[in-house]
Amino acid sequence: MAEATLSGSASAAKAATRQAVQNVNAPLWRHAVFVAPYLFFFVTLLVVPLFWSMWLSLHKADAFGVGRFVGIDNYLRLFRDKIFIQSVGNTFYFVFLTVPALALIGLLLALALNRKTKSAAALRAVYFSSSVLSVTIVTLIWRIVFIGNFGLLATVYGWFGATAPAFLSDPKLTMIGIAIATVWWCIGLPMMLFLSALQQVPREIYEAAALDNASRWRTLWHITLPSIRRTFVLVIIIEIVLQFQLFGQARLMTQGGPNNVSKPIVLYIYEAAFTKWDLGLGAAASEILFILIMIAAMAQYFISRRRGEEG
């Protein structure tokens, strides 16, 4: 276990004496034993698979092994595949449906529930509670709500002699149905992020505004909202990254149907790789997803680094 030489010693003789120095701050290889166990898993299960996936995406590969190198063939196949293009479109549509809704509803709830009363605390707990459920339970709940003859929605519409919209089978509505279930499931996170941002707005600002006789709306528009602007952007990006990875809801509620109108990219990847066992194609599709998410994550990085600069 070599010890790094300390810099700055003039002569070789001095350097030799310094070599023996047990400096508490000197870099030592044996200190790395603390990080080695994690790094082992990090490298074998994240770094290697990451590059391996990239490599796979350039090969013809199936369940029995990796075949020949095909260059960007898999990518070309993807772009020629209408269903893949459709799944990208579906994913963007889903993000467009859910992200603004999550951000706005989350913000409104946070504004309404940002008080120190017991009822507000209880309501916060209720709104967050759905977030701890698994996607399986969530979709089970919402299928039972949406399902044709005996769903909750059908029952309620039945009282008024009306027919409920067919969120699970009408091609125009399936994505919206999935989006409703998703917003219901995920609303807790944006609400909490906004709440913690609101709590960081200095109280003196409100007191100053109150002394200036600012009205409720003016305070909201000119003080509260501007001071959580950065959080708003952050929430949008976090949700874009999360909702881009839509999978369980679509697979469990509609199986991507009818006719692929609710098939997102991840479901496409899953089917390509694990039902058709076209691993090369699946890997190529996952690289494209990776790039899309990277762009969003990069934006998040730059915005969260700028945190200090704004108030």
């Binding site: 200190h31 698979p49 309404a112 909750l152 409100y206 469990l252 990847i269 997803l289 990776f290």
Partner: protein, 283 residues
């Protein structure tokens, strides 16, 4: 707006009351689907077949729950989930604490470079590594084993990131005092610093447990045998077709039974869960 900031001084205005009523109403609507499936789970299967509206009135029964005890695979799935999520949580805590201490406090060659690489790992979505991981595990014959379900979660950088931040926030004088007290680096980690990280351990532990418990992707492709299903996968497998199922009430009771533990856990550890989930999102 004064009502929105904290510490309301004197009585509430009408606006506040309206907002409160709206928020409560929305919460009730939000809870309605859950109430709906709880109600269904308490009804006899045959009665539901003939008349859905019977949900709204007696007789209610707990027979469906009794049947779970007798017939369902739910217990096996719960056991699997407990083993997988519990094992992953414990190992994540151990690995992240060790690595967090190493990155935050010890100096070794390439430390900063390695840390940056680990941080970059935060940006890698699961889908970008799944296929290769699956292939790797096929060759290692890890599919349909507990370690096959646990191991991938150990690579996630979030825990290391969180623990490193937490260790960095502990005053360095404590390490120095312990060094002067003749403690080894491991002893400093174990006896002096680790006890101070318990809040972070709770946050990370709950987050890891919850995400593993609810994970619907890796177990779906790795634990494909029915006896290796986790609860999340198992419940999904029962609901492929409501019409032909063992009965709606029974299905719903299974869902309630599966969802209840996590909701109860949430009731007790609400604060930690919220911190954990929001912390992981912002990181």
């Amino acid at each position: 707006m004064s009502s929105m900031s904290s510490g309301r001084i004197v009585g509430r205005s009408t606006g506040d009351r309206i907002i409160l009523v709206l928020v409560i109403a929305l919460a009730l609507i939000m809870m309605a689907p859950i109430a709906w499936i709880i109600a269904l789970s308490l009804k006899d299967n045959k009665e539901l077949m003939t008349d859905m509206n019977s949900v709204f009135h007696a007789p209610y029964t707990i027979n469906n729950y009794v049947n779970i005890l007798a017939t369902s695979s739910v217990f096996r799935w719960i056991l699997n989930s407990v083993i997988v999520s519990g094992g992953l949580t414990i190992m994540t805590l151990v690995l992240s604490s060790l690595a967090g201490y190493g990155f935050a406090r010890l100096s070794f060659p390439f430390r900063n470079t390695l840390f940056v690489i680990v941080l970059l790992g935060l940006a890698v979505p699961e889908q970008a590594v799944l296929i290769a991981r699956h292939q790797l595990f096929s060759w290692l014959k890890f599919h349909n084993t507990y370690h096959g379900l646990i191991l991938p979660g150990l690579a996630a950088p979030f825990g290391v990131f969180l623990m490193t931040q937490y260790f960095r926030a502990i005053p360095k004088e404590l390490d120095e005092a312990a060094l002067l007290d003749n403690a080894s680096r491991f002893k400093i980690f174990w006896k002096v610093l680790l006890p101070l990280t318990i809040p972070a351990q709770a946050t990370l532990g709950i987050f890891t447990f919850l995400s593993s418990w609810n994970d619907y992707f890796w177990p779906l492709i790795s634990g494909t045998k029915k006896e290796m299903y986790t609860l999340t996968i198992g419940i999904a497998s029962t609901q492929t077709n409501f019409a032909q199922s063992e009965g709606l009430g029974f299905l719903m009771s299974q869902a309630v039974f599966a969802g209840a533990p996590i909701l109860i856990l949430y009731l007790f550890f609400q604060k930690y869960i919220v911190t954990a989930v929001s912390g992981a999102a912002v990181r």
